[in-house]
Every structure is written in C-alpha cells, then in structure tokens.
C-alpha cells in the first residue's frame, strides 16, 4: 500500500517557504500483531513547528532533514491487530505527516467522547486548550474574586485562558494588539476588560486602571515590556505563568528587562515556566473538563479549516501571513 509523506527538505531562512517541504511516496507493509493502520483526518499546524525546522537547541527536538514532519493530529483506525483499538476508532496524538501510517498504539489516545467536533481535539481540547487549562490551574491556581491578566489574550491559548478564568470566578483582563482583537475579547470571549498595547502609552497605568485590586494571576504569552508593566501591579502571593516569551526560541540573544527579583520578594510572588509536555499525566482529566465546558456552551473557540493533505505546508505558511482566525487546522 502506497502513502504520501511530507518531509523537511531544507531548514528555512526566516519565514518557511514551499521548497522547504518535500512530498515523498512510501510503501506500507502489512500489519504485524499489535499494530494498527491509521488514516489522518485532521492535522494541526502551529507556529512552534517553525522552531523545530531550525536546528537550534530548544526544549523540543529539531526535525531532521528528509525525515517526516509531525504535529498533533486526529486519525481514524482503518485496520487493527491490536486489542486496544478497533476499526473506526478515532485517536489523537503527535504523529508524522503521513496520510496513512502504521502505529503500535503507543503515545496515542483513543477519543471516547464524540459529542464534540473532532477538530476541537486539535485546539480547545488539544495543546492550546490543555496549555490554557493546565497552565492556569496548575501554576495560577485561580480563586474566586481574583484578578487574572492575560497577554496575547486574543490568541488560541489566551482566549481560552480568559474563558476558563471567568468560569472559575475571576475578573479577567486581556491585553492584545488591535482594537478589533480587544473588542472580540469582550464581545466573544467574555473578558471584563481589554487593553490595546499598541495604542496605550503607559501600560503600567492602564493595568492599574483596569485592575484596581491589583493582579493576582498573570498568564504571560508574550514576555517583554508588557510583562514588565504587570510587575508594578502584582499583588502579594501573585502567580505568573510564563507560557511564552519573545526570544524564547533564540539562544543567542539575552534580552534585558526590568529585574523581576525585587518585585517577587516584596510580594512573596511566584513565576514559573510552563511547558505542556511536562503535564502529560494530567491530559486525560483536563480534556474531560474542557469537553464538559464545551458541551455546556461555556467555552467558545475559533478555527480556520483548510482542506487537503497536500495543503498542509501552505496552511502552515499561512500562519505567518495572518491567514488564520483562531486555530489553523487541515482537514484531510
């Protein structure tokens, strides 16, 4: 049986381009005992994959040249010689961009709950939703009545963080870069307040005005000067989830910022780096809770769906051109 695979052809210089990807044809052998045959249904394309296309050391391994690229996918079991899976089961996991493939069933999870759209397993029930939920609950530990500030608030992670914060009884303030996004924070994602950092001269004063009781939790998707401004407004025992930071993928530069240490001491405050991969043991429970929120219409999300296996590279490149609203997904 023949199948198609997308491999990394060359490491991009700047934005990735068509020629950085290659299509190769593979032949699949017959299933051995314990193996299953999978057919891709939905493929997630994400900005962080750009980092894996470089060979710089980071917290994720670089892709190898002429080897398949991979990401979070939803796949259908089309044949099974493994007791744990049967034909027509749906599964999710980090898998190579291979239209059909053989798996030993390890590192994939069966999708039991089909009352939610399958594509949600790549977004609000996938890495972005899990990052939002586990970052907020495991490090942020929100309590009712607290003030939660989110940077990158209109993004896939940020918009989910805000909604979960609201469900948990927080006052939620979002920071984004356009008036359109700020409007959406309030009209679509239930944020109490929104701040456009591009039209705000004094971010410190804007945070203070929008958070009169100070900041208890800061979910930081951006780092940099926006985050420096937050420091002046944190409360005693505040928690900061460091989820994204400018230059985090760039080993050679060491950006300077306001020293956080005096602020942490004065406020007995905590900052902690968050990488979703370290919380794999909590994915099942978190996904269940998120699915519950979805079914109760407490959680909304945006997605852009591109069709066709051959369009995975262009969908991925589209991320850097702003061609998506919310999660970018390829339907196979």
């Amino acid at each position: 049986m023949k199948t198609q695979t997308i491999v990394l052809k060359s490491r991009p210089d700047g934005k990735p381009k068509e020629s950085d990807f290659g299509f190769v044809e593979d032949t699949l052998k017959a299933l051995s005992s314990g193996e299953i045959l999978l057919k891709l249904q939905y493929v997630s394309v994400d900005p962080y994959l750009r980092g894996r296309m470089s060979d710089a050391k980071s917290y994720v391994e670089p892709f190898e040249i002429d080897k398949p690229m991979s990401s979070l996918v939803v796949a259908k079991v089309t044949d099974s010689k493994n007791d744990k899976f049967k034909k027509d089961d749906m599964v999710t996991g980090m898998l190579p961009w291979k239209k059909e493939q053989i798996s030993n069933g390890e590192n994939i999870q069966k999708i039991d709950d089909k009352d939610v759209p399958l594509s949600a397993y790549l977004g609000v029930l996938g890495m972005t939703g899990l990052t939002a939920y586990l970052g907020l609950t495991e490090i942020g530990k929100p309590k009712k009545g607290e003030t939660l500030v989110v940077s990158g608030a209109a993004g896939a992670v940020g918009s989910t963080v805000g909604q979960i914060g609201k469900i948990m009884g927080c006052k939620v303030v979002g920071i984004a870069g356009t008036d359109e996004k700020v409007d959406k924070l309030k009209s679509k994602f239930g944020y109490n307040e929104g701040i456009n950092y591009n039209t705000t001269d004094d971010m410190g004063a804007a945070i203070k005005k929008n958070c009169p009781d100070g900041v208890d939790i800061y979910f930081d998707n951006v780092g940099g000067e926006i985050s420096d401004a937050i420091l002046f407004n944190i409360n005693k025992f505040s928690r900061t989830i460091n989820c994204g930071a400018i230059a985090v993928y760039n080993e050679t530069s060491t950006p300077k910022s306001v020293s956080v240490r005096p602020f942490l001491i004065k406020n007995s405050a905590l900052m902690q780096g968050f990488i979703i991969g370290n919380y794999a043991d909590k994915f099942g429970e978190a996904r269940k809770q998120l699915a519950q929120y979805l079914k109760e219409d407490q959680l909304t999300y945006e997605e852009t769906i591109v069709e066709g296996f051959e369009n995975i590279p262009s969908a991925f490149m589209g991320l850097f051109e702003g061609k998506n609203t919310g999660k970018m997904i390829v339907k196979i």
Copy 2:
C-alpha cells in the same frame, strides 16, 4: 517601676547615627490579670531594621518617630499573672527595645529547649535560621544529589543554607566576595565549592565549572548580575528562592537585568519571593529541627556579642561598619 526604652528619634539619611536614637524613661504599672513582666536578655540587631527607620513603603511597616524600635529578642519572665507563663520562663518574639516590659503573652513563644545557647534563638534558631530552613525546604524542596548554589553564602542566612543543603544530601556551591569568606565556606560551613565573585571575570563560566551537572536550586540572597549568571546554568525544573535582592528596599529605582522569562520557560523553572513572616505557622517545627541539628553538631554558626542595653544602637550601627562576624547580638 521605671524602665528604659530606645526610640527612633529621627529618620537616618544614609548610614544611621547615634542621634537617630533616643533613650526615654518609662514607668511600668502593676500587672493586670493575664499579663506578664518581661526582662530583656538578648536583643538581635539586623540590617533590615535600617529599612524600617525610613518611611518608604516596604513589606515591613516603618518605625514611628518617638516610638520604640523593636526586633527579635530573648526575654525572661520575672513575674506572671498569666497561666501560660511562670516566673523564670524564657520567651522569644518581636518585642520593643524596652529593658523591662509588660506583655499579654500574645505573639511570643516560650523557649522549652534550653539545651542550646539562648543567643541561638536570635540567630540560627531565630529569623536567620528559619529563613534558611524554610526558604530552602518550602520553595527549594531539595532532593539528594541535587546541586544547590547560594549567593551571599558566608552571611548568617547563606552559611546556614549551605549546611542544611549538605545535611539534605545536596552538592553545595557558595558565592561570596572575598577569598577569606570563600575559604571559610569550605573549611567551616562544609560547602563543596566556593566562588569569589570579586576575582572572577566570567561568573557564568565559573558556575558551569563548579556545577558540572547544572543548578537545581538557587538560594538568592543578592540578586543582580551574580543571579543573572546563574540563569544560564539552571536545570529543568530548577527552583530559585528570591530571598534578597539589591534595590529591594528602594521603590524608586527599577534595575534592569537579563530577562528571566525565556530561561524559566525553557527549563520549566520556578522563581519565588520569600518573606519569612508568611511562614509563621511553620516556625515551631522548623525551630525544633534546627535545634536537633545543633545538638547533633551538624550546624555551626558565628555570632558577635556586645554587652549592655545602652549599646544596642552602637551594635546596630556596627553592622554597617563590618564590626560583626556572623550574627550581631546584644546581651542585656
């Protein structure tokens, strides 16, 4: 009954001077029911008191002009109308610099264990020891075989942190500012390695050399550039205890430093500000453990004892002239 009190006469400009302190005579009334009469035995003088002499907002309340100064003391019960205390009991607590005084017994702890020197309750069993023990165990959570780095390592807190780290099975590396101090780290306090930051050009390289397995726990008494150098060597899941930082008492300056955020994210690392006052519910247990270490000769400490109530101000001022080795204590 007459007694003497030391009050804050004026807020110092720079280093405190004799005329910033005043001696006043008070008259004590007779004991009411529930009250006890206390006689100071030992008084702790500490650099942080300088902060309380200013009226700048900080995490401790400023002293008031013409009101008594206070610090951690050991006192003897000389009369009691309170069931919980009897004559000749020894107590410790934050009390005013008043030679004799009446207390309602609140916010003082009885000293049950008299097998250790009483002055130790102001140092290794007092705030410095509790800061070292609770900062290290509550935030640092040391595990056997981990590498612990301590800045300000030869100070009262730092030298205790290093010893506790060793007891808990860590490799312990200390940073101090003179060769003499670095020698003492190894010869007296059991540090595995010591680094003199004043004679080291490349602190990052020095940390790397002395911590070949990376840094798991950083007990930070100084902040600033030394702490920036640590960042480049932290391990995945490392914990930093922010216990002291340059400029922490100075609200107006906002020093810049290497941005910690990318380092925290890449290493899923934690930084947390530590203020001993937030851990009051754990003092009893921690003090018991520290006393046990002392009796087992696992913990050594240095102290300088000045005699006489009237010498409290000069002992305090001596801290800023380097007149002490280890904890500065006044014996009344």
